[in-house]
């Protein structure tokens, strides 16, 4: 605390300057106090963010984040923290409905996080020594006020709609083409074998590298973004459909024929449903990639869309604006995932519960 007040007295300059000033004024060498030395240590990463002024605020934010992570992630492994976990679960006991209780837990987790973020951005005290600079990190209220601003101006609707439109169309087209291609190549074995290395090679091209050419070919409108999304979704659904169809147990198909099915019936009644889990995995993985494609295109060249909005705001150092864009994207992905999960739950209702849940968890990593 003493260091801080010392530093306050030396005016509006940074900590290292403060030490030098002391030297010059007194004309003799003074051993700097421990706090002063600590403040001069450049921390790795982005030094400006963590420098003296905001040290305590940053520390608070860091500790909160670390604390949250310890509780939620490592809670399972460490006995002491397991105790915290049990305490948490006991605190909520008065809520009888299990789903409601989980909702309350999650809401308080989110609320607590947002509150810490907001508080650490507040300028408490004589100077900002208890805060992280909202210039770099924004704050929930700033994000909200920017949201209100763009809602009132109407630009949020244009941007969100544009990105959703590009991603959705790209997804539908890519998935349809991918599944169709999967079906065709699963049938034409020789062609599939000829094309195999080319498909792998083309899929290996990073889409960021393709984006400039696509912009030249398809312009800066929605088309180039749709094509980018298609190029990502197509391969994912194709690969999954193809290997799913090829992996169907031939005995299942043979038996259907013995029981009187013709070739079309075998395809529709046996092969397709048997490959459905793979096809759906492809469709699920494809969702975030469709949005990645759209955003990538918008980063390259665009005049509207959330990707454009994020880039535009960050160019203006409007961090709150960028966060607003990220949050909107998050919601789009959440909604799209929910839709695909519903589709999966309906189409794969015949699967054992545990198996379905396991697969869902694996794809959510993407």
């Amino acid at each position: 605390m003493v260091d801080m007040i010392d530093k306050e007295a030396s005016g509006d300059k940074g900590a290292d300057e403060a030490i030098q000033t002391t030297h010059e004024a007194s004309g003799r060498v003074r051993i700097p106090k421990l706090g002063e030395i600590l403040l001069t240590i450049p921390l790795p990463g982005v030094p400006q963010l963590w420098r003296g002024d905001y040290l305590i605020g940053s520390l608070l934010l860091f500790l909160t984040a670390a604390g949250y992570m310890m509780c939620s992630v490592t809670g399972m492994f460490f006995h002491a923290i397991a105790f915290v976990d049990i305490s948490i679960s006991r605190t909520g006991r008065f809520i009888k409905n299990q789903k409601l209780r989980m909702f309350v837990y999650r809401a308080s987790f989110a609320g607590g996080f947002l509150a810490m973020w907001e508080l650490s951005a507040w300028e408490i005290g004589p100077k900002q020594w208890l805060c992280v600079d909202p210039f770099w990190f924004g704050s929930p209220l700033r994000v909200m006020s920017y949201m209100v601003e763009i809602t009132l101006s109407g630009s949020v609707f244009v941007d969100t709609w544009t990105t959703m439109y590009e991603a959705f169309l790209g997804y539908i087209l890519g998935a349809a083409l991918g599944i169709a291609l999967g079906f065709i190549l699963a049938r034409l074995e020789t062609l599939a074998e000829i094309l195999d290395p080319f498909i792998v090679a083309v899929n290996g091209i990073p889409r960021v590298a393709m984006a400039p050419i696509l912009i030249i070919w398809f312009g800066i409108g929605v088309e180039s973004k749709i094509v980018l999304a298609v190029s990502l979704v197509l391969f994912l659904t194709f690969m999954n459909t193809y290997s799913g169809l090829r992996g169907v147990d031939p005995n299942l198909k043979n038996l259907a024929q013995v029981m009187g099915a013709n070739e079309m019936q075998v395809l529709w009644k046996v092969t397709l449903p048997a490959a459905m889990p793979w096809i759906l995995t492809g469709l699920k993985i494809g969702v975030p990639f469709a949005i990645i494609g759209a955003i990538l295109g918008e980063f390259m060249a665009a005049s509207k869309g959330l990707g454009f909005m994020i880039q535009h705001t960050s160019n203006l150092f409007n961090i709150a604006g960028s966060f607003a864009g990220l949050i909107l994207l998050m919601f789009i992905v959440l909604i799209a995932n929910t839709a695909v999960n519903w589709l999966e739950r309906y189409l794969l209702r015949w699967r054992p519960k545990q198996q379905a849940a396991g697969e869902g968890g694996a794809t959510e990593v993407y």
Partner: protein, 267 residues
């Protein structure tokens, strides 16, 4: 009466890692209409290949199979096939699995469900119509596997060790049910098994195949009057005699198969 199915000089070989493997060699057999035939033999003697040739999933290298005086070409849908493990369709409920062959034949849903429900009831699966296969026990699935073949009334039914993976109690109960179903429907059944007791209890004639290459070793009539009681048949004198005789033959073949495998792995 002419045989419903006659196999003449059937020969099937295939290549595996550059080696010529003879699965079935010079096999001839005539099967009468309504007969229950069981085939026993050491493992790997080509029993399954023989069945696959009869349904038409595998083309014989030489020799002919005649069904009702017609030479077989491709898959014969008059012949039903009950595979070793139940290949029930995991995405179909029990009733839709059982009704599958009728659905393929364009029978409308009401009729095919009625028929399926009747069969499901007969094997004691009533109440499980809307369950998916993973919700059924092994024995239940195997029952469904069998009635799925019975529902479309094929003239001949081939069964490839249908009770192999089941526990002993379930096996006997299912053998009993199978005999009842067979008595009512009077189908021709060709039944592959490892279990000599099962082979004798069920069959009119027991076919013993030799170890590799699979040839016909002997055909034995089982003189035990029907209807048989599979639960007590072991104590009958005729059963014991047939069992001893067949076991003698089978043991030689199993021994030969063992030696062959030892030599095979040594060379």
């Amino acid at each position: 009466m002419p045989p419903i199915l006659s196999i003449k000089n059937l020969h099937k070989e295939f290549f595996s890692r550059g080696n010529r493997v003879i699965a079935v060699d010079d096999m001839s057999l005539e099967i009468e209409d309504g007969e229950f035939i069981t085939i026993v033999g050491p493992s790997g003697c080509g029993k399954s290949t023989l069945l696959n040739c009869i349904i038409g999933l595998v083309h014989p290298t030489s020799g002919t199979i005649t069904y009702k005086d017609k030479k077989l070409h491709g898959i014969n849908t008059d012949i039903g096939y009950v595979p070793q493990s139940d290949y029930l369709y995991a995405w179909r409920t029990l009733i839709n699995n059982v009704a599958f062959p009728l659905e393929m034949r364009g029978v409308d849903q009401k009729t095919r469900h009625e028929k399926a429900r009747e069969l499901i009831q007969r094997v004691g699966l009533a109440g499980f119509e809307d369950h998916y296969p993973h919700e059924l026990s092994g024995g239940m699935r195997q029952r469904a596997n069998i009635i799925r073949t019975l529902i479309y009334d094929p003239e001949v039914i081939l069964m490839d060790e249908p009770f192999g993976p089941l526990d002993a109690q379930t096996r006997i109960i299912l053998q009993d049910q199978l005999l009842k179903l067979w008595r009512e429907a009077r189908k021709t059944v060709i039944f592959i098994t490892h279990d000599l007791v099962e082979a004798i209890a069920l069959a009119d004639r027991v076919v013993v195949m030799t170890s590799r290459p699979g040839k016909l070793r002997s055909v034995t009539e089982v003189d035990i009057p029907r209807p048989r009681d599979v639960f007590t048949i072991h104590s009958k004198e005729e059963f014991r005699q047939t069992y001893d005789q067949l076991w003698q033959e089978l043991r030689e073949e199993v021994q030969r198969s063992e030696d062959w495998m030892k030599n095979g792995s040594a060379s």
